[in-house]
């Protein structure tokens, strides 16, 4: 047991450093994916049918192929056409491309929870399209989406581990490196798992709390407002 404590003293700092890279990867991936999701959602509501078709295709394809393929494409195929990305950049870009498609779906589901009638009412009050979005639709949609957004954040965190396979020096790859030095796979991976758990579990509890609060808020609203409102359906996006 004493020996293990010594190991932990040795591994701890390295894993902490790796965990900060995991966090950076997650933050960059989620931030980029959110922007991409917004752009996709904006394109989907545009008037051009071609643009809408493109978004539909993009979302379908990026949700159907595994993240690992996207990462391999970015990291191993792009250099063939003269574009060499660092592992971190390729990893971030892969997370953005794949999770952008997911977030577009989350955003759409959130927007759909705001009834069409609210749009019409706001327009009838003389608000412009943009003001309508800002003052009426987005405040309501954000409340509905906050739970699913946190869930999406957790899945970016989990998927950041896949970037280990293209050589990003984050938690999982560092754990593997430590394993091949120490030959104690069980301890190293459990320890690395605890790091992920420490990051993901609080977020997951928060998502649940937010969802519960949303439901109770809905219950307190006047009936005619709450009956026809559909909750955000997370099921089609569950990973």
């Amino acid at each position: 047991m004493n020996g293990l404590a010594l190991y932990l003293v040795d591994w701890g700092p390295r894993l902490f450093e790796a965990a900060s890279l995991t966090l950076l990867l997650t933050a960059a991936g989620f931030g980029g994916a959110f922007l991409l999701g917004l752009a996709l959602e904006a394109m989907r509501t545009s008037r051009s049918a071609r643009l809408r078709g493109f978004v539909g295709c993009y979302v379908w394809v990026l949700r159907a192929i595994p993240l690992l393929i996207v990462l391999y494409m970015l990291y191993f195929v792009l250099p063939g056409i003269g574009l060499t990305l660092s592992p971190f950049l390729a990893g971030t870009l892969g997370l953005v491309l794949v999770h952008g498609a997911y977030l577009a779906e989350v955003l759409r589901a959130g927007m759909q929870t705001v009834e069409q009638g609210q749009w019409e009412a706001a327009r009838a009050l003389g608000l412009s399209r943009l003001l309508c979005l800002r003052l009426v639709v987005i405040p309501q949609a954000v409340r509905q989406m906050s739970g699913p957004l946190i869930v999406a954040l957790i899945s970016v965190l989990k998927d950041s581990s896949v970037c280990a396979l293209i050589g990003v020096n984050e938690l999982t790859l560092t754990a593997r490196a430590i394993m091949s030095e120490s030959f104690m796979p069980l301890h190293v991976f459990l320890f690395a798992g605890l790091f992920y758990l420490a990051l993901g579990w609080p977020a997951s509890l928060l998502a649940r709390a937010v969802e519960r609060r949303m439901n109770s808020l809905q219950g307190r609203q006047p009936r005619h407002l709450s009956t026809s409102r559909r909750p955000v359906r997370l099921a089609p996006l569950a990973r």
Partner: protein, 214 residues
């Protein structure tokens, strides 16, 4: 130039392994998830529910890749040596059970909310009501999420490449190491995943339609 027929045959062989891993994991995940959800529904014990919640949260908040490495390298360390394919199947299956236990539990609750009392009023016991009314009717609710899970599972089988299971991505990697045709081989692999996803998507639709028409 590479021999396209050879590349395709190797990739399809890998795809077969991926499908075998995915179906094994799916069966395991459904069985485990269903058992846990039924136990939680029938026993109504707070302690059991807490344990299941901890089980599910732990499995879902740690990346699948870490779990697979733990099952493959970690268990070998304590003397349980699993070959790559069973390790991947068991690992993914157990992770999946954490997703599906919630799916089934939600489905049971939603059916019981409407049909639980009528079933009891007809004189069925708690267990009989569960077996004859709630379970058969809950499939309709749980099918779409199970279909989505199956799709995600096929994608997660790529992670088995990290523990050297000879699935599609592993084979693609091997071919690339031999031929250096990165674009062609990863492109073909992506197409195979798209094809599998499309078939699964259609299949889920068909089953859902059949279930809703009954």
């Amino acid at each position: 130039m590479v021999d396209l027929g050879f590349v395709l045959s190797v990739l399809l062989d890998g795809a077969k392994t991926s499908v075998i891993i995915a179906s094994g994991a799916l069966v395991l995940a459904i069985a485990l998830g269903f058992m846990l959800a039924s136990a939680s529904f029938l026993l109504r014990s707070r302690l059991l529910d807490t344990l299941i919640a901890i089980y599910a949260e732990t499995l879902r908040n740690i990346p699948s890749l870490i779990w697979l490495l733990l099952v493959y390298f970690g268990l070998a360390h304590v003397g349980i040596r699993l070959p790559p394919m069973p390790a991947a199947t068991v690992g993914l299956g157990v992770i999946g059970s954490a997703v599906l236990v919630e799916v089934f539990a939600t489905a049971f609750r939603s059916v019981a909310a409407k049909q639980g009392e009528p079933a009891l009023a007809l004189g069925l016991s708690h267990i009989l009501a569960f077996r004859l009314v709630i379970v058969p009717n809950s499939w309709r609710v749980s099918l779409p999420p199970v279909g989505n899970y199956a799709l995600a599972l096929v994608k997660d089988t790529t992670l088995a490449a990290a523990i050297a299971a000879p699935e599609l991505m592993f084979q693609a990697r091997m071919l690339v190491n031999r031929t250096f045709e990165t674009g062609l081989i990863y492109g073909l692999a992506a197409c195979i995943y798209l094809g599998v996803a499309f078939i699964l998507f259609r299949l889920t639709r068909l089953v859902e339609q059949a279930a809703s028409q009954r």
